[in-house]
Every structure is written in C-alpha cells, then in structure tokens.
Symmetry: none
Subunit: 294 residues, 2 copies
DNA sequence: ACCATTTGTGAATAGTACTCACAAACCCTT
DNA sequence: AAGGGTTTGTGAGTACTATTCACAAATGGT
C-alpha cells in the first residue's frame, strides 16, 4: 500500500495559501525543511512543477492552480467526514448490555443512572442483575460489574467502587443467648444465615487475618438467595450473617446489629466494571465507564 | 505533520466494498495483517468502530457507512485531480523561451522544429537568436543552445550536435592574387573578413596546434555581423573568412571555397542545450531536450 | 557589496507501515 | 461435540520514509 499524499497535499495547499514555506511550516507545526522536502518529493512523484519559488516569493504554477482547484473541495469533504465520525464519539448512542452484581446494581449503578440518562439520552442501558460469574461474550453482554477478585484476568477493568469490607453481624438479642465468637472456628457452633447464589452451592465465608486464610462452611437454620431477606433475618436475631460492611453500616449506627470477628474481615477490592479485551470500545460504553469510574 | 489517512481511508473503502480483509489485501497488494493493523489504527484514532467483523463476515457499522458515503466521492475527486496533473506530464504545454546561437538555430534547431511542433502541438517555442553569452535567468530564458565551451559550469547541459570544427577559407580567385598562409602569423598580411557580435568587439580567430594556441586579431576590408554576408563575401574573393566547417562544406565540394591552415583548426565541443541547475524541469522543455539531444 | 531572511539539500534520526509467524475466532462438516 | 479449514487479530522485527539538523545557496533590499 503506497503511502499516499494526503498530508503532503494538505501541506501543498498550505504553502500555496501562505505563499511561503516558512509560514506554512509554522501553520503545520513542522520545520521549513520538512516542507521543502515534501514539496520536492510531491513534484518529483507527479513529474510536474507545482510551485514557482525563489527565496523571496512562492506562487503556484498553472498546473499547481489546477490541482488546488480540485484538491481544496475534496480535502474539505474528507475533513468534514472525519469530523462527523469523530463527533459521533461525543454523542454516544445505542444499547449497552450489562450484567451486574445485585449489590453493585444498587450501590454503584443505581445512584448514577439518572445523571447518565440525562447526559446521554441516546444510550439504552440493558441491565441484568446476576451474582454468578457470567461469560460476557457467550451470554451476549457488552460489560459487567462485579468484585475485582471475580473478574477473569483477560478482561479490561475499571474500578467503580472503593474497597469493600465484609462484616459478620448479629443482633444484640441473638447475643443474649449466644457468646460472641472470638475465632472463626467458633462459627461452627453458631447459628448462621446461609446465602445461595442461584443454582450454585451455598456461599462459604472467607476469613483472613495476616497470613491466615480460612474458609468456613457455616451451618444454620436459614438459607436465602436474597440479601434483603438475609439482613431482615439477622435483625430479627435468627443468626449471624456475612454481608457488606456498607450494607450493615446503618444498623451498626442504630445499635440494631453488632459486629464480631472484625479482625478476620479485612477489606478487599471492590467493584469493577469489566469488558472483553480486543474490542474497539463502543462510544456508549466509554461514556458509561467515564460516568461510573472512581 | 501527522501522517494522514488517505491510504488507510482508501483501504477502508476497499475492505467495505469487498466485505473481506483478505480480498481487500489482495486488491491493494499488501498482507492481510497490514489491513488488520490499518483498520485497527484507524478505529483507534477516530475512537469509533467502523467495521463489524468476525472471521466469517465483515460489514461497515452505521458510523462506517456514514464515513463511506462522504469518502467515496472525495477520494474520487482527489484521484481525478492527481491523474489530471500527472497526465500533463505526458502532454506538455506552455511556452519555452530559448536563446540560441544563430548557427545552432539553423543547424541544430531548424531541422527539428517541424517534428517537434507536430509531436507537441501545445508547446510554443519562443526562439531568440543571439551569439553573445546571455545570462539565462536575468534575461528571462528557460534554456539556451550554444557551444559547450561558452556555457557556465553550473548549467545542466545536453549535447545537441557533434563536435564542431572551424575552417579558414578563401575563394580560388582570392588565392590567384594572394599566397596561401602557412602559419597563423601570415594572416596579419592577409585581407580577412571580420565578424562582430552585436555591440561586442570583432571576433578574434583562435587557432590551436598541438599545445600551441594563438589568438589572432585579423585585419581586413570588411566587418560584418551576419554569417551569410560573410560567406557571400568569401565566395566573392573579398578575403579570408573564419567559419564553421559545416557551413563551408558545400562550397568545398563545389570548389568555390578553399581551406587553409587546416592543421591549426582542430575540432572542439559542439552545441549544447543548457538550462539552470536546481529547477524542476518543465515538461515542455524536457520534451524539447528529448527531441534535440544526440 | 553586504546582510538578513528564505528556500534547498545531504545525512542522520525518529517514527511508522508492513511483514512474519504465529494465535484466536468462526462456522461448517462429520 | 469435536475437528478442520479459513479468516481476522496481534506482537515483534524490519524496511522504509518523514522529519530534523546543520548547514549551503539564493534572493532582493539597503
């Protein structure tokens, strides 16, 4: 593919308009010798003299003027076409299909949806909440939002929340009849509210302290698949629950829930928006990322 | 000067038309990965997806189609403009201003004028005969024809005649009453027809033999500035004349003129067409050079 | 004739288009 | 569901050229 002359032709127009290599060079942000080389190369390739010049004056030849007459409108059209296309980048449109962790949907996405809809009226967000680790491409999604630790390595990721911290909580009423656990192994003797993700197994509580890392399959009188039900049960004293510190925070403040094993619950990477590598980012998704990213 | 995308935009059109990277690559004479890189680079620079593709199908996106609609005519116009300009190279036109030694005008140029005019009907030859050493640029000439030895070093030269040889001639009638000179110094005792170039002084006869070089300011009853008058005078026995061997040759054959001091008149470089260095050669002048050059 | 400024040029360097050698993706066939 | 043929995608290396640098040459005003 022979390198074409669009930039050289543009330079030629600039020289002809300015009637000066020096002023054209300044306009284009290159050196005068770059212009000189380019004009010479152009004339050699065409085999026609396009500019008559001395060190005191520059003017297009008759052949040069014929070229100018045709080039100017054509280059203007191309520039217009390119500007239109790049302008689309600033007015995103179309559908974005997202799969979002339910907690992320309420804590990360929901608060920003109004702002986003107003800013980008032509974009349609198609949101599916799903806690499981979805194969984006297979399931036809453009992007997802989940905890960083659950995202495949080859995805492009953007942080959309600060680090999260889990909490093991119980109501004061629960602790009236049960001693507070001081070590994760004590949990096996406690009544714990289990959580199940769709058809997957129950959620194991992962606890870390320093270099120690324990995974506990707790037992209890309740297994739920809805976070709100879990929260309600904990408040009612049904048992201990494992949830986001953010979700429990209001109840800590009111004294309705009490936290235990806090030193075994360090923070971990929060939510990230992710999409498959090796894809030109659609403008609408880029806009969403800009809106959500920290 | 950022390299523009004319070649890349042309490639994009080719891909969109062929609906295939592979076929477009074949059409453009490059590898498929060159096309792949180019399309990716284009989309990254514009920040917009232009082509939707899998390994089985390629199609322009809506944005791509908008770009195509504007690019196609514009690129066609540019190609037309370039074709027109390069087409001028094969159909030279315009005026060529020549300053030509009168002898060269008749012996070199005149015989070829008809052929040239027929081959290049759009070229106008503006011929000025002048024996003096004209400053081409100052006097507004594009080129000149003169003896090689009179041409400035920095000119571009093309030989347009074979070597020349001068001759000192006299009529048999003249020699009836004058002994033939056997040495250049004898010339001072002869009646010689002087030649004057315009307002310059009379022409000195320059004679060489081996390493000897003599310049003789001859005397005589006649000073002319026209070669034909000089020839006529010599034929009439007015005196000796110094002229081109070629000009005198017909009269040698007929016996009307006799040559003397032949060994003092060696050949020297003939006529050359010349023009100033560092100039893009106009197509019309290039055509003339091709016609005249040996 | 001199000077300031512009264009012109050869050589070196920086930047990139393109190729190579694959990998990844896709869809048809079995 | 697996395999195969063909197309697109990609990283690294190479070939090519745009551009700069360091001048030289040219021009025209004083």
């Amino acid at each position: 593919m022979v390198r074409d002359e669009l930039s050289v032709l543009s330079a030629f127009l600039a020289v002809a308009e300015e009637r000066s290599f020096t002023r054209a060079a300044k306009r284009l942000g290159v050196s005068t010798s770059a212009i000189s080389h380019a004009m010479r190369g152009l004339e050699e390739r065409f085999g026609v003299r396009l500019l008559a010049r001395t060190t005191r004056s520059v003017a297009p030849t008759p052949a040069g003027e014929q070229l100018i007459a045709r080039l100017r409108p054509a280059l203007g059209d191309i520039r217009g076409a390119v500007d239109l296309i790049t302008g689309l980048r600033d007015r995103p449109a179309g559908r974005v299909r997202l799969v979002v962790s339910p907690i992320a949907a309420t804590t990360v996405l929901a608060p920003k949806l109004g702002q986003f809809a107003r800013a980008y009226p032509d974009v349609v967000l198609d949101v599916t909440t799903d806690e499981s680790r979805v194969d984006l491409v297979a399931a036809g999604f453009d992007a997802g939002i989940h905890f960083g630790e659950f995202i495949e390595r080859d995805m492009i990721t953007f942080r959309v929340s600060k680090d999260h911290r889990p909490a093991i909580v119980g109501s004061p009423r629960y602790f009236e009849s049960h001693e507070k656990p001081v070590h994760p192994r004590d949990l096996t003797s406690h009544r714990c509210i289990n959580f199940r993700h769709g058809s997957a197994g129950v959620y194991r509580w992962e606890l870390d302290k320093g270099k120690q890392s324990l995974t506990v399959a707790v037992n209890g009188p309740l297994i739920v698949d809805d976070v709100e039900i879990m929260v309600r049960a904990a408040l009612d004293g049904v048992g201990l629950a494992f949830m986001s510190e953010d979700r429990a925070a209001p109840h800590f403040a009111s004294g309705e829930l009490v936290r235990v094993l806090e030193d075994w619950c360090p923070p971990f990477p929060g939510f990230f928006l992710y999409y498959p590598r090796q894809r030109q980012l659609p403008a609408a998704l880029a806009a969403l990322i800009e809106t959500l990213r920290l």
